[in-house]
């Protein structure tokens, strides 16, 4: 079962919510799991991948659970209302899936101590609030390796959204991996100043191709850049989900977000009563970050190298950020042999040499 709540029905629902505690007393009612999304489920990107996770929960537990979601929730005061609405509707575990929902989640969690909350990409926790995030930079290291092998011009174009640590670490991880293959590699960054504007993303890709980049990657949400790459006959990588359908020739691989495993596991724990607050930062090893199947165009050498990087990351023998590492200004960031701690990663605001940002 699923109930879709839009902002409009939400307003109507708030009026009726006074009557809801009566319903809360049901005996063998299904376990309510709520999701709060920042974007539309139809974005085929970030929010879509979370919704795939929600569907996986339904598939796993059938009638034992009842999931619901509210989409297009603005980061800010609106969010608290949306989260509270789910809590009042009887949900016992609520996932809030955007960084900007951090304070509202904490605030609502205080009012509902018996309900469990999970906040994606944040850092504030409580007895009943856990946080979770994925190590996308591990995926970036794999596609960077492929890019290093596949680029003839030795230049990649990177369409980025905003210079926040999450994006900056992605750029650096991609570039460091490509540079290992080709020491003269260049990564040109365009800041699109948006997460989502398909036409602008496509134009950014075209500008990068005009400037000699023959591999395009992105940290924005739409598949438009891939389509531009396909049209111009260069390579590109998908973002958040497998985007091969949009660019059958250009799509070399994609970093795929997979929240299903985590959501299914946490819902089980909440139902069993073994749920505990904590912080999970899962990567390729945990199945939270996956790589889409390689394109036939990916050369055997590139395949082997990419697999090697994946294996190394899973085995823990390879960290995408391993010293000695200096930033563009020459400041020593990591000593020889040192790997970047989560602390360093989550505050990253510097670029490695060869990145043009």
């Amino acid at each position: 079962m699923s109930a879709i709540i839009t902002r409009r029905t939400l307003l109507a629902g708030t009026a009726a919510s006074a009557a809801l505690p009566l319903v809360g007393a049901r005996a063998q009612a299904p376990f309510g799991v709520g999701f709060v999304y920042v974007g539309p489920v139809g974005d085929h990107g970030w929010t879509w991948t979370h919704d795939q996770g929600r569907k996986a929960v339904e598939a796993a537990y059938g009638n034992k659970v009842k999931t619901s979601f509210i989409e297009n929730v603005a980061e800010g005061p609106d969010a608290a209302r949306a989260i509270r609405q789910l809590a009042q509707a009887g949900d016992q575990l609520i996932f809030t899936t955007s960084f900007g929902f951090m304070n509202p989640t904490i605030q609502v969690a205080k009012q509902f101590p018996k309900i469990k909350f999970e906040h994606a990409t944040g850092y504030q926790r409580a007895e009943n609030v856990a946080t979770y995030n994925a190590r996308f930079y591990e995926g970036r290291a794999v596609i960077g390796t492929i890019a290093g092998h596949m680029s003839k011009s030795g230049q990649a174009g990177y369409i980025a959204s905003f210079p926040i640590p999450e994006v900056v670490m992605g750029i650096n991880a991609f570039h460091l991996a490509a540079k290992k293959v080709n020491p003269n590699f260049k990564t040109k960054v365009i800041w699109a100043s948006t997460w989502y504007d398909p036409a602008k993303e496509a134009d950014a890709a075209k500008a990068l191709i005009d400037q000699g980049c023959d591999v395009i990657t992105q940290h924005t949400d739409s598949a438009a850049a891939l389509q531009a790459a396909e049209q111009r006959g260069v390579f590109a990588f998908g973002q958040a989900s497998d985007m091969k359908a949009f660019a059958p020739k250009a799509h070399l691989s994609a970093i795929v977000d997979d929240w299903s495993g985590y959501y299914v596991k946490r819902v089980k724990e909440a139902m069993d009563g073994t749920w505990k607050s904590g912080d999970v930062w899962g990567g390729i090893k945990d199945g939270m970050v996956k790589l889409a199947p390689y394109n036939d165009a990916v050369t055997p050498a590139a395949r082997a190298a990419a697999d090697e990087v994946q294996k190394g990351i899973v085995a823990g023998t390879l960290h995408p950020f391993t010293g000695e590492l200096k930033d563009q200004k020459g400041t020593l960031r990591l000593k020889a042999g040192e790997t970047a701690s989560d602390e360093i990663l989550s505050k990253m605001d510097w670029y490695v040499d060869g990145v043009q940002a």
Binding site: G39, P40, V41, G42, D43, H44, W48, G157, K188, V189, I190, W191, S193, T194, Y196, D197, P198, A199, K200, A202, D203, A204, K206, A207, L208, D210, Q211, C213, S222, A223, A224, Q227, Q231, A245, F246, Q356
Partner: protein
């Protein structure tokens, strides 16, 4: 910088300008008749989703373009019914139409997320455009040429035909036009429908030509830029053409400058340039107006008959 790059930049620029030009041209005619329809973004989205749905289902891009045009007209007719038929406030209804268009397109498009089609290609065979400079002239798709022809047609219509004169009279002084026997509401409805048709077509340019796919809010606010462009152009089709290509140029330059690594300009400054340019032009225009000129149709946004 080689010729190939310059040509490529211009092609990108023209493609960026075309949907805005179409939507703005439609809105210009609507406003010339005295109707302020702020729902351009909503109508564009209706056109974008309808165009994609039909093109995907039938495999025919021209059918998709036709469907998009009709969807734009349908959305505009909802607006016309409420504002011209029932006399509701045009500003409020225009905003409502945008919100409606976002929701309706998202609902209709839900089943089309993640699909793609073969995009609208160049009008002329590739052999014609073998030489890079020749591509500038014959390398575009049909909609680019159509938009340019429409600018000329609208300009001639408004200035040189009797029908155009009547349309302008309705926008300048509805009471006088009514007194001499013109059907104000019918003319305004027709102008609104034309605006919807071009907005729908402009929206479909995104889903069928620029980024051949459907995703929620595909037009990402271009409808608002089209609205601003009408003011920017002082309700003149020729200036609209210049404005739309100027916008395309600034937007493309911003990205090219970043890709070329012109780091002496902060990216935030580059992102501001289109808006700075708008402010400068609007300021210059209002300074000009102080010396006697007047650009907006006198009855713009006013209900008829007056309440």
């Amino acid at each position: 910088m080689t010729a190939a790059i310059l040509v490529s930049i211009f092609m990108t620029l023209a493609a960026a300008a075309t949907p805005i030009l179409l939507a703005a041209l439609g809105e210009l005619v609507t406003e010339k008749a005295g109707v302020l329809n702020l729902g351009v973004e909503g109508m564009m989205l209706c056109g974008a989703v309808a165009g994609f749905a039909v093109a995907y289902s039938t495999g025919s891009v021209p059918l998709g373009l036709l469907a998009a045009t009709l969807a734009g007209v349908a959305a505009a007719m909802i607006f016309a019914l409420l504002t011209l038929g029932l006399g509701s406030n045009q500003v409020a209804m225009g905003l409502a139409l945008t919100i409606f268009g976002i929701g309706a397109s998202s609902l209709i498009g839900a089943g089309f997320v993640g699909r793609t089609i073969t995009r609208l290609g160049p009008l002329f065979p590739a052999d014609y455009a073998a030489h890079p400079w020749l591509r500038l002239v014959v390398g575009h798709d049909a909609i680019v040429y159509l938009s340019l022809a429409l600018v000329l047609a609208v300009s001639l219509f408004l200035r040189r035909t009797k029908a155009g004169l009547i349309l302008r009279a309705v926008g300048e002084n509805a009471d006088s036009a009514h007194a001499i026997g013109y059907r104000v509401l019918a003319i305004r409805t027709a102008a609104t429908a034309f605006g919807g048709a071009l907005a729908g077509l402009g929206g479909a340019y995104f889903s069928l030509a620029l980024t051949p796919m459907w995703a929620d809010r595909l037009t990402a606010g271009r409808g608002w830029i089209a609205l601003a462009l009408v003011v920017f152009a002082a309700w003149k089709p020729g200036r609209l053409l210049i404005g739309a290509y100027l916008f395309g140029a600034v937007a493309t330059f911003e990205l090219q400058a970043k890709a070329a690594g012109l780091s002496f300009i902060a990216p935030e400054v580059l992102a501001m340039t289109p808006y700075l340019a708008t402010i400068v032009v609007l300021t210059m225009m209002s300074l000009g107006r102080r010396t006697g000129g007047r650009d907006a149709p006198a009855c713009l946004g006013k209900p008829f008959p007056a309440p």
